[in-house]
C-alpha cells in the first residue's frame, strides 16, 4: 500500500476561502451553528473557558519545583518518574498526561520547544505565552539555542551543555530551574512564589530575591 496525497486538499481551501476574513465573525458564526445543531452547549463552552483561564497556571509547576528544591527524595523521584510524582500531586491534566522533569544547573541547561505545533504542559503551566507559539521560537531554538537564550537574557558559558527538548509526542517536559542563592531561609510556599513560567520552559534563570 502506498500513501496517497490527502484528498481534496486544494478544493477544501478554495471552499474555506469564501468565509469572512474577520476571525471574530467566523467564530461567532461557527458557535451559533454548532449550538443550533446540538453539537456543543453554550454553558459547556463557558465552563471550559472559565476553568482553563483561571484554574491552571504556572503556580502548579512552581509547586512541583519548590518541593524538589526542599526535598531531595522528592527531587530524585521527580527526575526518575515525573508522571507518577506529578500524578500524586493531582497535577496531570490537559496536554499533560505524561511528564519528564529536567534539572537545570551550572553545567547543564535544558530548554523546551515544540517545533511542529506548540505542545505545552497546560496543566502545569497554564496557557502558553505567545512567544512560545511564535514561528521564530519554533524555528530557531533547536538550531541556535545559545543565540535564542542570549536574546532572551540568558548568556551561557561555552562549557555549559545545552539540551533542547522538542515535544514531538504526548510527553511534556518541565524544567526544574536552579534554586537561586540566598533562599536558604525561605519555606516551600515562599520558594514557589519565586518560580517563573519562563524558568520552567528553560528560557530564564532565577535571580536571588531582593534582600
Amino acid at each position: 500500500m502506498t500513501d496517497r496525497e490527502p484528498p481534496g486538499e486544494a478544493d477544501r481551501f478554495s471552499e474555506l476561502a469564501h468565509l469572512p476574513s474577520d476571525p471574530a465573525l467566523r467564530v461567532k458564526a461557527m458557535e451559533s451553528l454548532l449550538v443550533e445543531k446540538g453539537l456543543v452547549r453554550p454553558e459547556t463552552i463557558d465552563a471550559c473557558i472559565e476553568k482553563f483561564e483561571h484554574d491552571i497556571g504556572p503556580h502548579n509547576g512552581a509547586r512541583v519545583v519548590a518541593r524538589a528544591w526542599v526535598d531531595a527524595d522528592f527531587k530524585a523521584r521527580l527526575l526518575g518518574d515525573a508522571t507518577a510524582v506529578v500524578g500524586e500531586m493531582g497535577l496531570l491534566g490537559e496536554q499533560t498526561a505524561e511528564v519528564v522533569a529536567l534539572e537545570n544547573g551550572p553545567r547543564v541547561h535544558n530548554v523546551v520547544v515544540c517545533t511542529l505545533c506548540s505542545c505545552y504542559p497546560w496543566a502545569l503551566l497554564g496557557l502558553p505565552p505567545s512567544w512560545y507559539k511564535s514561528f521564530a521560537y519554533r524555528a530557531r531554538v533547536v538550531r541556535e539555542p545559545r543565540a535564542v537564550l542570549r536574546e532572551l537574557g540568558v548568556d551561557l558559558a561555552e562549557d555549559v551543555e545545552v539540551r533542547v527538548w522538542d515535544s514531538t509526542a504526548e510527553v511534556r517536559f518541565l524544567v526544574v530551574p536552579e534554586r537561586p542563592a540566598g533562599t536558604e531561609e525561605l519555606n516551600e510556599a515562599a520558594l514557589a512564589a519565586l518560580v517563573t513560567r519562563d524558568s520552567m520552559i528553560g528560557v530564564a534563570r532565577l535571580a536571588a530575591p531582593p534582600a
Binding site: 477544501r12 471574530a24 517545533t115 504526548e170
Partner: protein, 217 residues
C-alpha cells in the same frame, strides 16, 4: 507531510517576539475558539492527531498569515466538514440547513476539567527493539500524511536516551488506521549531527521518536 508547520531549523523569522506576561487570550474570539475546541467532544469527531493533521494541511501562505487560535478555528472547521458533522453551506451561513435535526448528546459543563487526562501509553506484547544507550538512525521518510518526525531529524544518528513504553502512533491515528501502539523513545542527537560544524560540540537535541522510524545505527 513536508509542510510549513515543520519549522525546526528554518531561517528568516527574525527575533523572538518576547513579551512578559502574554500568556493570555488577546481577543474575546480567541476564548470562544478555545471553548469550542474543548467543549465540542461528541463521538465520531476528530482525534488529537487528525486535528493536528488538519492544521498541517492549511495552505502555507494561510498558515503563516494566521495567528495560533485562528489556525485552531481552521482546523476545527476542516475536521467538522470532513466528519460530515456540518456542511460547507451551513458554515458559510452560520445556521443549520432546513430540516436539520439537532443532536441531544453534546457534553455538559461537567466535562470542563483541566485535570482530566488520558495517556497515549498502551500495553503491547512486542518487546522494545532498542535499549537505552544504543546507537540508532532515524528513517529518511517523506510521507504525504501526518508524522511527528521533523524534517531536521530525518536520516540522522543519535543515541536512545529513554524508553517511554508503547504509545499511540500519530502516523496511523491521524488517518483512521487505529492507534497502532508502537514503542516510543527519547533519542539524543548531537547538535552537530543535525546542524553541522557551526553548532556547539557540547549541545544536544532530544526528540521523542517512535520505533518504526528508527533503524539500528
Amino acid at each position: 507531510m513536508n509542510g510549513v508547520h515543520d519549522m525546526g531549523g528554518m531561517h528568516g523569522f527574525g527575533r523572538i517576539p518576547y513579551q512578559e506576561n502574554d500568556a493570555a487570550f488577546h481577543h474575546h474570539w480567541e476564548r470562544r475558539v478555545w471553548g469550542l475546541c474543548q467543549g465540542a467532544t461528541y463521538p465520531g469527531w476528530a482525534n488529537l492527531d487528525q486535528g493536528r493533521f488538519a492544521l498541517e494541511r492549511m495552505p502555507p501562505a494561510l498558515y503563516l498569515s494566521y495567528g495560533y487560535f485562528e489556525r485552531w478555528l481552521y482546523g476545527l472547521t476542516l475536521t467538522l466538514l470532513e466528519g460530515a458533522l456540518v456542511t460547507l453551506d451551513e458554515v458559510e451561513r452560520g445556521e443549520a440547513r432546513a430540516g436539520s435535526e439537532p443532536r441531544d448528546d453534546a457534553a455538559g459543563p461537567e466535562i470542563a476539567d483541566p485535570y482530566a487526562h488520558s495517556s497515549y501509553r498502551r500495553e503491547v506484547e512486542a518487546r522494545p527493539r532498542f535499549a537505552v544507550g544504543e546507537r540508532v538512525r532515524t528513517a529518511n521518510l517523506h510521507p504525504p500524511g501526518h508524522t511527528r518526525l521533523p524534517r531536521y531529524a530525518r536520516d540522522k544518528a543519535g543515541h536512545v536516551h529513554r524508553h517511554h513504553g508503547a504509545q499511540v502512533l500519530p502516523d496511523a491515528n491521524a488517518h483512521g488506521r487505529g492507534e497502532s501502539p508502537t514503542h516510543l523513545y527519547t533519542v539524543a542527537f548531537p547538535a552537530r549531527a543535525l546542524w553541522g560544524p557551526g553548532a556547539s560540540g557540547k549541545d544536544r537535541v532530544f526528540l521523542n521518536v517512535w520505533e518504526c522510524h528508527l533503524h539500528p545505527g
